[in-house]
Assembly symmetry: C2
Homo-oligomer: 298 residues x 2
């Protein structure tokens, strides 16, 4: 397994692979790898000839107040986990600083408009601006045939999928189902911030989503009804502080036409963001998309 | 010569060429081809195995008041000119409308910041936003090894060069010297809008640039002095309406440090925009760059 902090080396590696007719799968990460990341890598391994993983805590997708030095870093475990799963190259620009990704004088930004506006886009201004830009750069370095993103960050995946389509980047975006702990909590690098009490409370998020699914399966197709039910379950009694709970069209991330989940061509996404203490957690579930094709799928 | 309005066909053609180990040169144009464009094509022909020309009057780089239907269109002459010069593929999405370049639901924009701010960026808000985005899309379709732009649109070329570098598009940007009519007027598709009287007046623009060059060669290194001299020659007596006349650092397009052309690492650009009647003409000249390497060059 090649480990490099050089974009030039990553670029020439990927060019060699393409020239040899080999397909490249890219898994972009911010490190602190967990089961969710490994499921992306395993999916990539099954579908591509060569697998690259990037580990980079991107400074441009966090608000000005964010303390990046607090972001969890587990470099040795990350590399071991990649090696165990047959990753071919790990790009770790973090170790040589921001310039390895953003060259001196950097001034080009990629902006996806409508899909980046609601949900986390509203709550974290500039976040998707930074996400789209860094992923465009990683796609420039690797020119992957496929790139893998977790459904937990559903809006991020849809923003990147749209960017790849609009700028004709030639990358197939694969959205991989969320991996969960035994009690339902979505796996996330941030979970390690939770105190044991917060960890117990956090399970209310996935429980609210499962309740939304139960309601939909029992015939409730009105987004507003499900939205209210989800929000009620994450009220003050939950010990969490709700940031948002929305039921939106899964393809456009706009309000559901006529409030009807069953009328949306790609179904609906139930999206939640909530704070457990100072840790912001997000999660989501798709409703009504199974029968009409996976959103974002080929 | 292949002529296609299909981005998918252009994409698969370029993939075949790359797979065969052939280098691709792209010349993006808005049609109404003239000697300046043909010099780009000939340069590409000399440097690349396969040449693609795009002809597309991009709707996103003009202000809301612009009437694109007025933009000159000479499709038959354009195709004949390309064929005569050994072009391999002409991409003419204009004939099938905007959707061939911007798919339905398009919402992704590329923005270059500092370089796009002064000069035409100040006078035509949103212009370079549209330029950078459409060129990013064309680079996505063709994945060219080299792309060719005329020095007449100097700021455009520098914006695109920066975009290619920042997003690691892997395209070498070649800036080709401006071609001029016998009296010095820079070749431009817009020249055909000029009345015979305006055509005579328009020569004052290149004369002012040549005077700037003469002053610099005779030892004047202060940008402000040259800027004043250029502006004076394009005053009301010229019959033109000056939009801007600036002497800027040729690499950053910022004001010259210490007002000294000879201290700027890439020299200076003298840039003019002026109206002859209702036609806006631009032109520029580089000072002090010869001895320190071509700006934008490899």
């Amino acid at each position: 397994m090649i480990v490099t902090d050089s974009a030039a080396e990553a670029f020439s590696w990927s060019r060699r692979m393409r020239s040899a007719g080999l397909s490249i799968g890219l898994v972009p990460t911010m490190g602190a790898l967990h089961g969710g990341h490994f499921s992306l890598i395993e999916r990539a391994r099954a579908e591509c000839d060569r697998i690259a993983v990037s580990i980079f805590v991107n400074p441009t997708q966090s608000g000005p107040g964010a303390d990046l030095s607090r972001y969890p870093r587990t470099p040795d475990a990350d590399l071991a986990g990649c090696r165990d799963r047959g990753v071919d190259l790990v790009f770790t620009p973090a170790s040589s600083g921001r310039d390895a990704v953003y060259p001196p004088g950097f001034q080009t930004w990629v902006e996806v408009q409508d899909l980046a506006r609601p949900l986390c886009g509203e709550r974290r201004p500039g976040h998707f601006h930074g996400v789209a830009t860094v992923v465009a750069i990683l796609f420039g370095i690797f020119r992957p045939h496929r790139a893998y993103f977790g459904q937990k960050d559903y809006q991020q995946a849809r923003v990147i999928e749209r960017m790849a389509l609009d700028l004709r980047l030639g990358v197939q975006i694969e959205i991989v189902p969320t991996l969960r702990e035994e009690d339902g909590l979505a796996m996330s690098s941030r979970n390690r911030y939770l105190s044991s009490e917060e960890r117990i409370r956090a399970v209310a998020i996935s429980r609210a989503l499962f309740e939304a699914e139960r309601l939909y399966r029992s015939g409730e197709v009105r987004g507003s009804v499900i939205e209210r039910e989800v929000a009620a379950r994450l009220g003050p009694d939950s010990g969490l502080r709700l940031d948002y709970a929305r039921v939106l069209d899964a393809l456009t991330l706009e309000p559901l036409a006529g409030d009807r989940i069953d009328q949306a061509p790609g179904g609906a996404v139930v999206a939640i963001a909530a704070y457990a203490g100072t840790t912001r957690l997000i999660d989501n579930i798709l409703l009504g998309s199974e029968d009409r094709g996976r959103p974002g799928g080929a």
